[in-house]
């Protein structure tokens, strides 16, 4: 009984820490995005709140918190309230299976405890795919329940786009799963230990470079980010599916978008760039410092995730929005054949040259 209590307490602490870190990262990202894009466009970004505008996320949060919560006339009130929750919860719940650091098991009060992954379930990647698909419902229902033509169009676009690109994400991941022989994110990461050429993006027998490119492009499309932000295309659809949302409900969609960004970055880092593994064995704490290896593991994981987040900003600052037919053609006629071909070749290579 005591053991169960300790287990639950540890889990709740872990969940609280992960949620806190994710939400703080979201806060930081909103500022970092505006700053980075500003710098890329020879602007300064937010400069007014606090020194160099570093308190801007807090000001934004306070503003959204105190804004009037408007429910448009004719909206389906239940679904209108449900949609932001449906968007945010799947985005946050995916972090439950992400391994943030080395697969350690420590014993606290006689309870086995993995400090760097909330729950290492053996179908981790399927779990994430399943929940991110539920996130699409939030967008679609939010668009439909708002009783506005812009929202409805945004929701419809989101539905088509997320379904098309979810498929490519799934197929791009299959190659990695074939090589790793497991669906658990911890096992997939452990299969990439050692030097950086063991990472699945470069790994023998068949590098997953194509799968990596397909995954990155599809995940940008799946999180509705530029240049695939058709569901919220502000020049065509005002704000797309969250046109009618204000205050905290809008903030939920906003949080969901950024949490999704972090989630797909974490998955990309875990599956293709070796997760917590350092590029070279000597770039982490080893030898007499070996009991601090977790710190370097968390560091390398953070570096990789932030590389992807920077890539998101970079793409947004560079590329214009795709046209809708271009988006669909690119998804179905370019990415899908590449992903399928990659699976075929990887399967043959993995059969002929099984990994030791």
């Amino acid at each position: 009984m005591v053991e169960v209590g300790i287990k639950i307490g540890l889990s709740i602490t872990q969940i609280a820490v992960v949620m806190g870190v994710v939400l703080l990262t979201v806060m930081f990202l909103t500022l970092a995005e505006r700053k980075v894009i500003g710098w890329m466009q020879d602007r300064m970004g937010p400069m007014e709140v606090g020194p160099y505008g570093i308190l801007q996320p807090i000001a934004d949060g306070l503003k959204l918190f105190f804004k009037e919560d408007i429910v448009p006339a004719g909206a389906n009130k239940f679904l209108f309230s449900l949609a932001p929750i449906l968007a945010l919860v799947p985005a946050l719940i995916g972090f439950a299976v992400i391994p943030f650091g080395p697969n350690l098991t420590v014993e606290i009060f006689g309870v086995q405890f993995q400090p760097f992954v909330i729950s290492d379930i053996n179908i981790g990647i399927l779990y994430i795919l399943a929940f991110t698909s539920i996130g699409a419902y939030g967008v679609i229902l939010g668009g439909w329940a708002s009783n506005s033509k812009y929202s409805l169009l945004g929701g419809l676009r989101a539905a088509a786009q997320v379904i098309s690109y979810e498929l490519n994400v799934g197929l791009a991941i299959v190659g990695v799963i074939l090589l790793a022989g497991s669906l658990s994110l911890v096992k997939i990461t452990e299969a990439q230990s050692g030097w950086f050429w063991n990472w699945f993006i470069f790994a023998p027998p068949f590098p997953q470079l194509f799968a990596f490119v397909v995954y990155v492009i599809s995940s940008v499309a799946e999180t509705n980010r530029m240049p695939f932000d058709l569901p919220e295309a502000e020049s065509e659809l005002v704000a797309g599916f969250f046109t009618e949302y204000s205050g905290m409900r809008f903030a939920f969609f906003f949080l969901a978008e950024y949490a999704n960004m972090i989630l797909v970055s974490c998955i990309a880092a875990t599956l293709f760039l070796g997760g917590w593994n350092a590029p070279a064995p000597f770039l982490q704490f080893h030898g007499s410092w070996a009991n601090l290896a977790w710190a370097s593991g968390v560091f390398w994981f953070t570096v990789k995730v932030y590389f992807f987040l920077f890539l998101f900003f970079w793409l947004r600052a560079t590329l214009p929005r795709l046209r809708y037919d271009q988006l669909m053609r690119f998804g179905w006629k370019v990415m899908l054949p590449i992903a399928l071909g990659n699976i075929l070749i990887t399967a043959i290579a993995a059969y002929l040259f099984p990994r030791g």
Partner: protein, 179 residues
């Protein structure tokens, strides 16, 4: 050649060039924007800002109430009600002078049209107001703008412009005219 084009397509060559451009701007970051309320840009010499009515150095209004500015104005900003100077039937002045700055497009045609240089364009541009009725300016307000924007006034010379300046208004604080 065809192979090269194909290769460029599959490695996203054009997109990579665009991304290199944005990255170079990030690395060589030099903002071209100004933090407006804290920093203000240096205005060019011929900046056409708020309109103002001017005075001579002795405090007399330059305006002779000729209505040429009203005629020149393309958006009918100006309304002049001219009148004779009391006791001097050969001289006229603008009894009332209104400018509806909500319509003004700062073309400067009124300033060019004025035969006595009684109108001037100042370098003021911070004229955002909460009530647009505050932009309907009367003569006193326009003179006040001119007073604060043109501290150096033109010297009043009798018969400087024989046709026009002779008709200028003389108020009682003017030195008495020799007869």
């Amino acid at each position: 050649m065809k192979f090269k084009a194909w290769l460029k397509t599959i490695i996203f060559y054009e997109i990579l060039i665009g991304m290199k451009a944005t990255l170079m701007h990030l690395l060589h970051y030099k903002p071209i924007t100004l933090q407006y309320p804290h920093e203000k840009r240096i205005l060019p010499d011929s900046y056409r800002g708020m309109l103002a009515l001017l005075r001579y150095d002795d405090g007399t209004e330059k305006c002779v109430g000729c209505d040429l500015c009203e005629a020149a104005c393309p958006s009918r900003v100006i309304k002049v009600i001219s009148a004779e100077v009391p006791d001097e039937p050969t001289k006229r002045f603008a009894k009332e002078y209104y400018m509806d700055m909500t319509r003004c497009l700062f073309c400067g045609l009124c300033v060019q049209a004025c035969p006595v240089d009684a109108l001037g364009m100042t370098r003021e541009y911070e004229w955002a107001v909460y009530d647009k009725r505050q932009l309907l300016l009367n003569k006193g307000q326009l003179l006040a703008i001119g007073d604060r924007s043109y501290p150096v006034r033109e010297k009043r010379l009798e018969l400087q412009h024989p046709n026009v300046a002779f008709f200028n208004v003389a108020f009682k604080h003017l030195p008495p005219k020799e007869s």
